[in-house]
Symmetry: C2
Subunit: 78 residues, 2 copies
């Protein structure tokens, strides 16, 4: 089955990459962008057919590798 | 208003970062992961209150900066 994990910086954590994108969009003439924060997305194909089992695997993956839980939040969509 | 842009590699485009994550998850003992593909997510705060206008701005942002449309797809959620 397919699942998507989204990892984003916690609110209040500085995001220089997002700031750079904001600046670049302004220079390129894209109007109306107030702020940008960049995160990561992981599209995962799982062997498990059971959503609960899949979610448990992904929870472990996020804790061990995909997210730095000190500064990042993650959300799992199974 | 808030919007989310997700940029993912097109199917068939090699994703070495995703392959590295697959390998690392295997070594860390996370079972049941068949494949991983990594993408980018942008959480954008827009000045525009009108969804159509916001979508047009984000479309321009994706075309000009956020996505490499040769190898990447993007989706906009307003």
């Amino acid at each position: 089955m397919k699942a998507r994990v989204v990892v984003t910086l916690k609110p209040g954590v500085l995001d220089p990459q997002g700031k750079a994108i904001e600046g670049a969009l302004g220079s390129l003439g894209v109007k109306g962008v107030a702020s940008v924060r960049q995160g990561k997305v992981f599209d995962v194909e799982l062997a498990a057919g059971d959503p609960a089992e899949a979610r448990a695997s992904l929870e472990a993956a996020c804790q061990k590798l995909l997210a730095n839980t000190v500064i990042e939040n993650y959300s799992i969509d199974v």
